[in-house]
Amino acid sequence: MIFAIKALVPAILFLVFLTAPALGMEGLDLGFKATALAGINGLAESDLNPGNGLARLPDKESLLLLKPDLSLVREDWLVSVKPRFELSLKHYEIRGVSDENTDSKADIPEFMVRRSLTENLFLSYGRENLQWGPSFLYSPSNPFFSDNEKKSLVQDLEGKGLLKLVMVHDEAFAASLIYNTDKGAFNESDFEKTLALKLDYSGDTGYGSLILSQRDHGPERLGAFAGATLTDAVLVYGEGSLQNEDGLSGSLLFGATYTLESGDSLCLEYLYYEQGQGRNPDFLRENYLLVQFLKDDLMGGMDLDSRATLCLDDGSSRLYSSLSRELGGHMELKTAGMINTGGAHGAFGAYLDYQIQVALEYTY
């Protein structure tokens, strides 16, 4: 019964999409994506996940995702909702025993209600995955989300409850007061509400932000990022954070991007993560290097993203490559492959040796 209701909801939403323009619902913006994904995970034999008994990761999976995006703008209000519906078929190998599982899931990982109090003052509440900063590898300045990138080719990131007041002084200066009210769908047993003040500056050729934050029962933290356009082809940037918890500790990242005359770009980043050694599951060590090549036409054709993340402390690495190709104006084919080197004791190999994903996405 519940599954029938869950299946009915996307059908109703789809009918709304088709009829909304006829009903004169001005200000309503509708988007819809349907994605089919197939993936293989090469599970690592590691002490952190012996026999796959703890993490219980699938070794094969197929997903069907329905992703409607609704956005309504009416006078001073903006309402944005991103419900997600997922049908999955997953195969597991746990302590030598095979198992197959089908599941359906419906939730709203992100939504937002925003009111323009004045032309330059905005108040919003919602569940958002709030990301900022110029870096690809990690965003040290962000006190809310340590994850900087999508783990899946097609699944969106989860959001956390955020109350925000954004004040835009002029084109150059803005400030935001952000209160993280809840952890959303994240499994964080040590979650604490966090208040942050973010100050932004954007100049002729450079930009920067300062972020002061405080957890309910935690230390104050200072984050910052800045970037500059040095030439028509060269961008440089840096990002970092500092906090005083059992002594002063922090992270620092430097990066640069060079765009070739073809429009393709090369990126290099170095990260020093002092809070490593087990505090963040994505960064178990301290020194990392990222090399990335992007062939992105931005508007069409084939996009290639190849990335190598190296842990300088133990020599392990994560090699990742994704290819996407637009097939007409509505379809896109995506493939991605990832290999972790350095074994189960390396910085990246605790759970997966490799991963391959293929997805076909239709946009209405």
Partner: protein
């Protein structure tokens, strides 16, 4: 000697002098003013919105995209409208800082002015131009282009982070609009040419002005590569600073 012959000879002798002194009536100050005025017809104004249909022909393939562009001074926001699989993507340019915002991406990605938009069009091509502010006039001469007397500017970028290092720009003295441009790389190589049409009219400061309706870009290396940008629905708008705020654009 026949007086007519004397007059003809005198005119012939004066011709090179006249050609050199053609710059006389058009001094640097007037040339700069002409260049600034031509920028107005390409969007260098406070508060404008327009749609652009871009069609690119490359290696026998044709791609088309539609964008809505919001411009205020040196800030520009382009929102992709079609095709469906790129709708909602945004390009934000705040002076020389640029970001690409893609629905589904976790955050805006900083990009450089060199990043291409589609075919022969660069990010800088869809924004308003500010050649008078961004470039130094190294030289200017007079030339007739398609029966239109023009001033031909040799422009050099004032800073290294502009989309083009050098531009050769034909501006009509009659309509005060830019008719043709040649774009050069840092090494001095011609890499693309653009011609402009101005079939639109807008009212700026109480005066009616022609406004760009089409920009056709041809590659210098592969001349069959052509990108056509058609401008439409030009409208004056009161645009607040918040329209270009990066945090508010990512929703």
């Amino acid at each position: 000697m026949n007086p007519l012959k004397i007059i003809a000879l005198t005119l012939l002798l004066l011709l090179p002098v006249t050609a050199v002194k053609a710059q006389g009536p058009m001094n640097l100050e007037k040339a700069t003013a002409l260049l600034a005025e031509s920028d107005l017809s390409r969007g260098n104004s406070s508060g404008l919105e327009w749609d652009i249909d871009i069609e690119s022909q490359t290696e026998g393939n044709t791609e088309a995209n539609r964008l809505t562009v919001l411009v205020k001074d040196t800030n520009c926001l382009a929102v992709y409208q079609s095709p469906a699989n790129i709708k909602g993507r945004k390009l934000l340019m705040k002076d020389r800082n640029m970001w690409f915002i893609k629905p589904g991406l976790s955050k805006p990605v900083p990009i450089s002015p060199r990043q291409k938009l589609l075919g022969g069009a660069s990010n800088g091509d869809i924004a308003s131009t500010n050649y008078a502010g961004d470039y130094t006039i190294e030289n200017f001469t007079e030339e007739v282009l398609d029966k239109d007397p023009c001033i031909v500017f040799d422009l050099k970028a004032k800073t290294k982070n502009l989309t083009y290092d050098r531009i050769r720009y034909w501006v009509s003295q009659r309509t005060k609009t830019g008719l043709k441009a040649e774009f050069f790389t840092l090494s001095g190589k011609l890499f693309k040419t653009a011609v402009f049409k101005y079939d639109h009219k807008i009212s700026l400061d109480g005066q009616e002005r022609p406004f760009v309706s089409k920009m056709t870009i041809t590659g210098a290396v592969v001349e069959t590569e052509k990108t056509v940008m058609a401008y439409s629905h030009i409208r004056l708008r009161d645009i607040s600073a918040s329209a270009f705020n990066l945090d508010l654009l990512v929703k």
